[in-house]
Symmetry: C3
Subunit: 298 residues, 3 copies
Amino acid sequence: MTHIISIRDLDRAEIDDLMDNARKIQSHHFSESSLKGKILGLLFFEPSTRTRMSFEAAMARLGGSSLTMGSVEASSITKGETLADTIRVVSGYVDAIILRHPKEGAARLASEFASVPVINAGDGAGQHPSQTLLDLYTIRQSMKIDKLNVGLLGDLRYGRTAHSLAHALSLYNATIHTISPKGLELPGTLVDELREGGTEVIDHENIIDVVKDLDVLYVTRIQRERFPDSSSYFKVASSYRITPELLAGVKDSLIVLHPLPRLDEIDPRVDSLPYAKYFEQSNNGIPVRMAMLEKVMK
Amino acid sequence: MTHIISIRDLDRAEIDDLMDNARKIQSHHFSESSLKGKILGLLFFEPSTRTRMSFEAAMARLGGSSLTMGSVEASSITKGETLADTIRVVSGYVDAIILRHPKEGAARLASEFASVPVINAGDGAGQHPSQTLLDLYTIRQSMKIDKLNVGLLGDLRYGRTAHSLAHALSLYNATIHTISPKGLELPGTLVDELREGGTEVIDHENIIDVVKDLDVLYVTRIQRERFPDSSSYFKVASSYRITPELLAGVKDSLIVLHPLPRLDEIDPRVDSLPYAKYFEQSNNGIPVRMAMLEKVMK
Amino acid sequence: MTHIISIRDLDRAEIDDLMDNARKIQSHHFSESSLKGKILGLLFFEPSTRTRMSFEAAMARLGGSSLTMGSVEASSITKGETLADTIRVVSGYVDAIILRHPKEGAARLASEFASVPVINAGDGAGQHPSQTLLDLYTIRQSMKIDKLNVGLLGDLRYGRTAHSLAHALSLYNATIHTISPKGLELPGTLVDELREGGTEVIDHENIIDVVKDLDVLYVTRIQRERFPDSSSYFKVASSYRITPELLAGVKDSLIVLHPLPRLDEIDPRVDSLPYAKYFEQSNNGIPVRMAMLEKVMK
């Protein structure tokens, strides 16, 4: 039985294999009854509508059904029962579980009690492997994913997606350029780990200093609640905003990614530029998740 | 790509065509795998359980799947993102979108950003074309839909369904009889437009003055919150209540319709009279919506 | 048209028949397209996520689709309309209705207005026949269900599942042993009825007095809110807690059941003992509900 809890559990060959299958699926090489008769259980202890809908759509495309427990119900289903018991009960209903939980480590715990495969769809500050896979997949769709200059911009301290992507990129010999406000830098332990593994990590004060060298610019949200007041937030946010003006003179092949939802981090005028790949990135969630569902259930 | 945003976008031939298909569907002339493999996305930014369930049922009858985002989630999915972005993301998951939104014009806006067809399931004071189509369909099921005397009763000022139905009936040479409390009359601009198009619109103070002439009596809810106090509400509401006594002496062929839910507007004793067609009307939502789904997705 | 409102509506032959079908289903003798094209409507006027998911899973296993109205929506769908009207409307969308409602008698009322079969999934202090059937089924899976010594432990006054199970067991010549805190005893009217029907009902002050004689121990939750303060609750709850020590010396064939969720009533160390059958019991909800769905829809 295969669980997918963390991108770190997968080696490069496994990641490449998943992405190869996603590409075949996206080219319509898949069976619409691949998972016919199978049931996917989506346990969302906190809301994440996009992730939920994307997994449900992926399951439907493969001919399967989905059962959902939303966050509103989560409080009532359990009536104080342990996650272990909830997982054991739901294991009896479904063929695989997608778990979203506010506490780091919840997905790993769940996998120990489940009698069916568990896919982690985000557990607190922990992992969200399907997001990382679709990020990688979108890069690979545009260019050879080797020795790239990748800029990570925004809140790199709390931004779970940036952490997992940085780790995954280290498998592909990337150079990581970090651009983040003071206090929201990539955690030191992660930087150390990346460098020990041979990955170059370069900090930049301003995006303008590095944008012309980048192959990939990965933008994340800077949350207002991290700042003492609105004016200090706006000051920082505006200097991290991606505009057509900022992108003047970048490489033709640059792609701009964002895990969405996007607020003010990217000017809507960027949407029509060839660099903007964030909506394709979101769409890629379907074939990537289809490949993941096939991996654990087929 | 066909969107269905307003009944006004459809000409009489298109409306007749949809209703012909609905009739065929209701006579079991349809394929249970007509939309097999297709996914319908239901984005409900405000609750409308009946409309949602009816579209989901219609999709299931045609062999398709549905993904739902409810109003509770709507606040969290967006985290402040624009409707345009939400629509672009969901367009990547599904084959058509049913949109319910509190703001007038939202459906038209959504259709501009969607890469899949959008069906408006109500946007504020705006349109709700599937309701109008099932209203018309129910009339046509009982009689030749030409030169009818149609009574519109209740809150005609805010009642969106009455506005759209009045417009649609004008395509079928109806005479419109309005019966509504002071302050809740049909908007003057709509009356002018109907009259300019050649439709006769006649105001009546009391339902008893006109009920014997009617072919169709369309009852809508008068909402308590439109009145300064309960006693003035009850006084008005009771004089607009449909009872078996009121219906004594009407045409044998009269049909009484109501978009439901019904509170006190129609005495439950009316339910067993031959005039009562409001539950058939509700049931007709399934074949009518099946015809709409086939129109946009097949 | 067959409704399933109360276990009391079924005679022993009908119960045996349902359980025989559930056993065949569990042995994979069923058609995955048995209910293809059918739609199940789940109307949950109060939350019961487990029951809902279990019915949805059962429907999906048989190839059917489900439509759900959750408790959050229930308040808005009705906008004050009667249950009768809601049922009449939903009857037009689906092929069977699963109803969960806070008021006793709601399911019976619903069955009178529905044009499709209704299955009661719990109505207040009333019935929840699918739970009783899966309880019986789990007993029958382990032993010949005749002349058994069955212990009912916990809150037997308000515990709906214990009432229905006691009644059902009386059809199988069981001896009922009750073990409950003062004030939470099995209702006198039910005890009288059982005794009049020839069933022996024996009260015990302590579980230790009877545990060695039991074939089945059915544990239910004692709710904190039944007690004036926490300390009196904990004192009672701890003396009703099932532990490995308590189970030393019981019959080898004893099975311990619990309708779940389980809080502190059963020590997690019991989970790995051969007596623990509560997770199998939960899993049995699927084949039992599949058999029920086939009974009413096929």
